[in-house]
């Protein structure tokens, strides 16, 4: 849905750009600015961000259908809508899809699109690697979902506890798809993580010190650092599982002396940081939205930053709270119980700072703000239930019940997804050049709010009444009937709300031509992305912005008058960069990322079905590496614009020309 063309006149192309050179005789250099070619070959962080967003919404529909199937099956006791085997596949794939293919890429969408804009850069540090991340992710997601047609989806739960995932206990190919598919999306996350970490650290505009970074960028940085360190751990776990299943290794073979807790530890050492990987970008988004609509700066900026960093650090020391019933022994349990409680402290600091930002503001209730307040309210519930199961003895009554299901949906849906939905409404005009309808947006919000609480609120009760997770059905007479029915109704209301969102997108797009364009800064924004036209021109900034303040764009609009009162001194249209790309030097598009990304699913299918396919995949991988290496990242046939060729040897660095010459760059901290 989001594949919408931006006007192509933003970059002044020399007329008749000439015949494209084919560096290897395989591909001509992609030149298209519009049409599908411009998307498959793009290295533009904005197009890549849009594609991340579109794919996450696509997978949201798939994961949502799976959720509805689960809720339909559980609407009443003893139903046989889904067989036990199918139910296990559906709830496993629901979890995998929502975590790895919806929430993570949705976060990546915002990070890709916004982070370079917020730090004043023209693109990310490695634009082609960025494209590789996206294509690898999308092929990994498709690979995972093709398992439905090739013998059935994974059936061991997203947590995939060994030895239930061994060949004996899970004989279909589902778990192979799980292990290899997540390995592929892991590659995508790792490459993306390295890229974005380098981008934030290295590509900041002059004057943009670390402590002037917008909170969203800070939270993205923490998220990406977590990814970089968490992904290898799950990679190892998945390798071990793959080797066990495909090559008969003994890592989880209890008969050969294996200890199943090895998987649990590896999985949750990844899995708990993963929780913060899901939520921190949304925290960042809300920290951008609330100040704008309260017309106040974020309260306690350094505390917002450090609490985010603290969550990132402490997130590594709490993983075993997922294992309080596993028999770790009282000493470990006590240590992890206490550490888990204290991670609530920085989270609480964030919530209180958002409230303090609202305090004394002049709040306008737009859809983005409603979703942000929704996040604060709903995440608090998830946080509090989280504290109740940090209490380890209580957790032995709660874990693996619906109480936990309620908890993590309040955190991931009520937290992450609410934040992202708010972000969609907030940045939609920036990305596409038209507003999403605010009335429909409010309908969307209230439907989501009501459906969400109806679906997941009762699960607290069900859990405390002892309803286990991951059960295909339950028996009459356990007191589960009523609240399960309510939850199912809630789930369908959520589905309706998603439908309203899609209708809003389509209708707003249609209505866009009749309405005035949003201009560069429709919300009276604070960070640099609002200083450029909407939609963002391909080159982002005409010149590198020079940053003086935190919330620099706001400070350009508002200044103290002679009486000391802060008043608006400039309209955004007067001072926005109007979009003259002639001084920009952009990295050239390339087909190699998408070609290389096809190698991974090929290798995966080959490992499962026939090694010959893997061989083809390996050839594609090696071939595309060679092609990639030999292809200059700049298009030599494209005469470079502007001032940046003074030191030029044959340009083949994977870099973006951000001209920093002559400007003092401050390294912040």
């Amino acid at each position: 849905m989001a594949i919408i063309e931006r006007p192509s006149d933003t970059l002044a192309l020399p007329p008749g750009a000439g015949v494209a050179r084919a560096p290897l005789g395989v591909f001509s250099r992609p030149r298209a600015k519009t049409g599908w070619r411009s998307w498959v070959a793009t290295v533009d962080h904005k197009k890549i961000g849009i594609m991340y967003g579109a794919s996450s919404l696509f997978f949201l529909v798939i994961g949502g259908i799976e959720a509805l199937a689960i809720r339909a099956q559980l609407a009443a006791p003893g139903q046989k809508l889904l067989s036990a085997g199918l139910y296990n596949q559906v709830f496993t794939m629901h979890g995998v899809t929502m975590i790895f293919l919806v929430v993570m890429p949705m976060g990546a969408a915002f990070m890709n699109y916004l982070m370079p804009l917020q730090i004043g850069a023209r693109d990310v540090a490695f634009p082609r690697l960025n494209a590789l991340s996206f294509w690898t992710f999308i092929f990994g997601g498709i690979f995972l979902n093709t398992s439905w047609f090739l013998g059935g989806g994974a059936d061991g739960g997203w947590f995939a506890y060994a030895p239930n995932t061994g060949v004996i206990f899970s004989p279909s190919h589902g778990m192979d798809f799980y292990a290899i598919g997540l390995q592929i999306t892991g590659i995508a996350s790792l490459v993306g993580g390295v890229n974005l970490v380098v981008t934030v650290l290295n590509m900041r505009a002059p004057g943009m010190t670390m402590m002037k970074l917008p909170v969203f960028t800070w939270m993205s940085l923490v998220t990406q650092v977590l990814l970089v360190f968490a992904v290898p751990v799950i990679s190892v776990a998945l390798f071990l599982l793959t080797f066990d299943r495909l090559f008969g290794a003994n890592f989880f073979n209890v008969q050969q002396g294996a200890d199943p807790l090895l998987w649990e530890h590896l999985f949750w050492i990844f899995g708990h940081p993963e929780v913060y990987i899901l939520i921190l970008p949304a925290f960042g988004i809300v920290s951008e939205i609330i100040p704008v609509f309260s017309r106040k700066p974020i309260f306690g900026y350094p505390f917002m930053v450090f609490s985010g960093i603290a969550i990132g650090f402490m997130g590594w020391g709490v993983w075993a709270h997922h294992m309080f019933a596993s028999g770790l022994g009282p000493i470990s349990v006590a240590a992890f119980s206490v550490s888990t409680m204290f991670i609530a402290v920085p989270t609480g600091v964030k919530i209180l700072n958002w409230m303090a930002t609202l305090w004394g503001g002049k709040i306008t209730f737009t859809t983005p703000l409603l979703f942000s307040i929704g996040l604060v309210a709903m995440f608090t519930i998830g946080g509090l239930s989280g504290v109740t199961h940090a209490v380890a003895p209580a957790d032995t009554q709660q874990t693996d019940t619906y109480y936990i299901v309620a908890h993590f949906h309040y955190v991931i849906f009520g937290g992450a997804l609410f934040g992202f939905l708010g972000g969609f409404y907030f940045w939609w005009p920036k990305v596409f050049g038209y507003f999403l309808n605010d009335k429909l947006g409010k309908v969307h919000f209230w439907l989501t709010m009501v459906g969400f609480n109806l679906a997941f609120g009762p699960m607290h009760i069900l859990g405390l009444q002892g309803m286990n997770r991951r059960i295909q059905t339950y028996r009459d007479g356990y007191g589960f009937n009523f609240w399960n029915l309510v939850a199912t109704v809630g789930a369908f209301i959520i589905a309706l709300s998603v439908l309203v969102f899609f209708v809003n997108i389509v209708r707003s797009k249609r209505a866009a031509d009749l309405l005035p364009p949003p201009g560069p800064d429709p919300w009276d924004g604070r960070s640099l992305e609002w200083s450029v036209p909407s939609p963002t021109p391909e080159h982002n900034f005409d010149d590198d912005p020079l940053v003086v303040h935190f919330d620099d764009w706001w400070h350009r609009k508002y200044q103290a008058d002679e009486t000391g009162r802060v008043v608006k001194v400039h309209e955004p249209e007067e001072i926005a960069m109007i979009g003259d790309g002639s001084r920009a030097h952009l990295p050239a598009p390339s087909y190699w990322p998408i070609v290389m990304a096809t190698a991974f699913p090929l290798i995966g299918y080959g490992l499962i079905f026939n090694l010959a396919i893997s061989f083809v995949g390996a050839v594609v991988l090696v071939g595309s590496m060679v092609g990639w290496a030999l292809e200059p990242s700049d298009d030599e046939d494209q005469p470079p614009h502007g001032h940046h060729d003074e030191g030029g040897d044959g340009d083949d660095g994977d870099h973006v020309a951000v001209s920093l010459e002559g400007n003092e760059v401050t390294v912040g901290g």
Partner: protein, 375 residues
Amino acid sequence: MNLRNSGRGKALLLVPLVLALGACATDAPLDTLDPKGPEADAIQNLVVPVFAIAAVVFVLVEFGVLFLAIKFRQRKGDDDSLPVQHHGNFKLEIGWTILPALVLAGVGAASVFTLFDLADTPADAQDVTVIGQQWWWEYRYDVDGDGEDDIITANDLVIPVGQPIALTIESRDVIHSFWIPALNGKRDAVPGRAQPLTIEADEPGVYRGQCSEFCGLSHAYMRMRVVALEPADYQTWQENQLTDAQVPEEELAKQGLEQFRTSCSACHLVSGPGGNADLYKGAAQVSGAAPNLTHLASRGVFAGSIFDLWLDTNFNEEVDTEEIGKIFNVADMKKWLRNAPAEKPMYPQGERGMPNLQLDDAQIDALIAYLKTLE
């Protein structure tokens, strides 16, 4: 419109509602807030104050957000001037970092004390080994303490009241989790590990439970019960369990014994002259075990506790101990013997669960006649 923010009112009521419901739900046999033994009591005493603190924080934050949203909304007729630009307040930040940390430190200390209390096994505890496998539970009692298990039973864990029971929880295949909410929290049954858990029941009765770690196809159907008996009744039960099965006298039951020896010896064992110990060589299952049926008829449930073995004469859907031995649940047993995988999701082709034995009606009737005698 802002007032309607209290659409969250529903959720707002949730925590007290949860507490209220938990306290009074009599129709919820797995209720986690209805303790019936000292271990579960210890958890309850910890959980209630924690819920109370959570409820206070919940009310403060939710009403706080609501209040701020209403109080500081942009009103019609407000001028366009900026509100006061607060950037932060160091003291406030430190305050709301330290205060929650102190509260949590208190909660943490209480948890740790309870945790170590629960980890202590009382010296006078009676040992029982609990073994999980797909998709039922086995219990083994070493009555005389010679290191050999004298009683092997399934589904119903029979214990005396007022006596701490030290369970050793094991697994024969994948990870399961043993959980009787009324008696204690859960403990995973991890293959290759022996995990301790203490339970104790204050009153005689039947306490339900369900495997709560996902264990494959029939996870939803892997249930169990603890049957707590007065010490004297327990003594009687134990003596009976130590006896062997005798050759039945009734003709149909005799046929049933022969049928049992032919059809069931690949997996099930009945010890004694009226059984198949001479034919049984361990179960042809991945786990290597199938329920020992020597005293099947002394149990209240069968097939991983999904069916009642004896019908409830009071029709309250909960088989009491007095009803055992009265009206045999022939209908469900027939269905089970005709085609077990149709009643409970299993994977017999991979030696995980009971196959369809292709028995005809006469064979099934004979088998039931025999099984009834296994008291």
